[in-house]
């Protein structure tokens, strides 16, 4: 119990520190929302008129920065996130984020989980049969693919499965713009079709890391006494591999996985850009480009909370899976 409380306290402290940094760093960036708006309107409109417009959307550059900070803390906690003052001028931040979040969670999230499961499985099997044919080929292939840049893999996939094959798989958007979102099989099929290439990009580039670490952990674990003991007892190979070795080999990977789940929400910016996939990643890019403080603050807060929550859950999970971590709690 003390362990859990300490973790929770740590969580709150980290959250506050992160929120504070999230507020001050964007305000230290060069430029201002006004400048960004002047750029986007090509300096055709007078700066005074634009200043006035931004003011009516709630941009208060002259207010005391600490008052702004207190307002910000209150707004973040109460969910009054305000309206965008960047490229989506005037749109409530909650609407923008609400539209983008499900797509990122769905596509990037599923791809990340798939990469983890696939990577761990391949790593387990490769280590079990180390020196075998599988072990000779798969890990080295995945080392190469994990070293490839996201956007390059994305381009290659577009080229192979969309351009050369005359649009076999769609290369942009999250669904055909002629469809209206609903729960019909047709629409869901369309969404899945559009997710194939971007998700494949993420799986291909992310899976290698999991394969390598899992294989190494497995090899260490397989040398443990309790594995030899299992063999001596005459347990089946399958049982030893999954229940004795893999279960313990997986533990160190879990916190890494939790972190990567937390980072899911920040989206794979490049993947979303190349595939014109309207998730959170490109939102962040736009927000930063346009000094869109309200949108930036909310996005940073979401990323922070996502990572912290994922780590917290992982801590609890490890405490449950591995009694040793609680011992000195």
């Amino acid at each position: 119990m003390r362990f859990l409380l300490r973790r929770l306290g740590f969580f709150v402290l980290t959250l506050w520190a992160a929120l504070t940094i999230n507020f001050f760093i964007p305000h230290l960036m060069p430029g201002s929302p006004l400048q960004a708006l002047r750029d986007r309107t090509h300096n055709k409109l007078s700066p005074q008129a634009l200043q006035e417009l931004l003011a009516s959307f709630g941009f208060k550059p002259n207010q005391n920065i600490f008052e702004q900070y207190l307002d910000y803390l209150r707004d973040m906690l109460t969910g009054h996130w305000g309206v965008s003052i960047g490229q989506t001028l005037g749109t409530p931040v909650s609407t923008i984020v609400g539209q983008a979040l499900p797509w990122t969670l769905g596509m990037v999230g599923v791809a990340t989980v798939l990469a983890f499961i696939l990577g761990s499985l391949v790593g387990t099997v490769a280590a079990w049969r180390r020196g075998g044919r599988l072990d000779a080929i798969l890990p080295s292939v995945f080392v190469v693919t994990s070293a490839l840049p996201y956007f390059w893999v994305a381009l290659l996939l577009i080229l192979m499965f969309s351009v050369w094959t005359n649009g076999l798989l769609p290369s942009d958007f999250n669904y055909d713009s002629s469809l209206q979102p609903d729960w019909s099989p047709e629409f869901i099929g369309n969404v899945l079709q559009h997710a194939v290439l971007p998700a494949a990009t993420i799986v291909i580039t992310a899976v290698g890391g999991w394969v390598l670490t899992m294989r190494n952990n497995m090899i260490t674990t397989l040398a443990e006494d309790y594995v030899r003991m299992g063999r001596a007892k005459g347990l089946s190979d399958r049982r030893i591999m999954y229940n004795y070795a893999a279960r313990n080999a997986l533990l160190p990977n879990l916190s890494g996985f939790a972190m990567s789940l937390g980072f899911v929400i920040s989206g794979a910016i490049l993947v979303e850009y190349v595939f014109n996939y309207p998730g959170l990643g490109y939102l962040l890019y736009n927000a930063v480009q346009n000094n869109d403080y309200p949108l930036m603050q909310v996005l940073f807060m979401l990323f922070t909370v996502a990572v912290l929550v994922a780590v917290l859950v992982c801590d609890f999970a490890i405490a449950w899976l591995d009694p040793r971590s609680r011992a000195k709690g």
Binding site: G90, F151, F173
Partner: protein, 563 residues
Amino acid sequence: MRRTKAIVAVAVVIALSVVMAACGTKKNNTTSNSSAPAKTSYKKGGTVTIVNVQGQTWPCQFNPFNPANNAVSLGFVYEPLVFVNILKNQAETPMLASAYQWGADKKSIDFTIRDGVKWSDGQPMTADDVVFTFNLMKQTPATDLYSLWSGAGLQSVTASGNKVTLTFANPAGPYFFNFANQVGIVPKHIWSTGDAAKKPDTWEDPNPVGTGPFKVDPCSANNIQYTANADYWQPGKPYIQKVEYPAYLDNGPGNLDLASGKGQWGSQFIPNIAQFYLNKSKENHTWSPPVTNVALYPNLDPSHKATSNLAVRQAMALAIDRAQVAKIGEGGQQPAANQTGVVTPTFNKYFDDGALKSSGYDKPDVAKATQLMQSAGYSPSNPLKLTVISVTGYTDWDASLAVVKQNLKPIGIDLTVSDLAQQTYDDKLYKGDFDLAYYGSAGGPTPYTELRQILYSKNSAKIGEDASTNYERYLNPDVDKLFDDFATADDAGQVAIIKKIQAAMLKDIPVIPTTESVDWFQYNTSDIGGWPTEQDPYAQPAAFNVPDTGQVLTRLYSNAAQK
């Protein structure tokens, strides 16, 4: 709309175009403009898809007073009083005003409001709505985007019968483009109630009611679909019945859809356009008319010794091979500019070719430039070191500046290109913290707009303070006077004034234009006809020009629907 912003996007397109070119079939691309006489009316039907990169999903807001969103409502749903065509010597097309009459000294103007125009909800459009629109901008200054009340001296807007009179404190000729062409008229019965009345500047206007050729039906984050307004006041129009406007986040995907024909109306930069787009189909065309200048802005403040020295600026203007910058830097997709600052051929009417030729700036003259640099105390062995600021990710600018750097080297200028993040660049540009800046200004219906932005002293500021447009800090009372006189001059007088301003450009070299930036425009003719072309430039063709989109939308027709 965006130029090549993210390096990644450029890499995407280049990588794809290289590979695609290698395996694509080369087709001869000739213009297939049918020489058949233009029909006056067409059958209805067909869909056009616009590819104009926004870098955002649609917020589904259509408030014409919100500059972040109004490009999807003006022209489509909301219409101006008079359409002014920049590309055809300000040729006017009456829209919601069937006629107008200037008063004495151009200090007042009477618009006759068109009869029989209906809002898309069935109510009639009247002079009251026009008066309401202009008074709205007075009551809520944030909606007065063109500073008509605060800057242009608009004093009152009144209606009598079907006439609307605008009165100004000063002659208002130069503002005609803004108040007649850029302001979309909104319906009083919608905007005088509820949220619209309380906060007209921030209201979302999700279901816009206008007089225009199209209605929003429906809008989602991914796509705006417009359907034809069946009761549009121009009988038989629009011919096209549906417009799809997908939200492209970046140039790469947009350009792919243009090349494959999935989108027909393109409005952004396509690198290596011949291979990537034009060779893909003989129905793919491009025509990008020049509208403004991209120029080197030397800092004229005396604190910047080198760039405020006239001889140095003259030498630079003589040494830069503008044709080469256009060909190599912009891949031939932008034409070369000239030292008068008048964009040709768009504004040929004002262009003083003779003055340019006799000044010697019409072609590069390295010998004379070297001499001038020597008189200023510099030579290739003792070069002047200058830094030019540009924007990170504007790859075409980088390529252009590489050419400029080479051009300047032999005359004794060692140019360093400093690529800055957009906002850092803005900050330095506005505050005058640079030796040289590479910048593309905004334009207007005549060269007056652009030249006034660049040269008028009231648009400048002290070094360290934000200048609105005169970033090089050019201060010349004689030139200011010319701009002040422009408003009251007649047509011939205005041409004469612009010619005198060109003389100042040639004498003082306040900025050094290199290339002319264009309205990016690509179009596919396999089904859709009626596009604006070089032969018939009836409106600015790029989909980000408001309200020009309205003109294009009422002229497009589908070939399939004619059968």
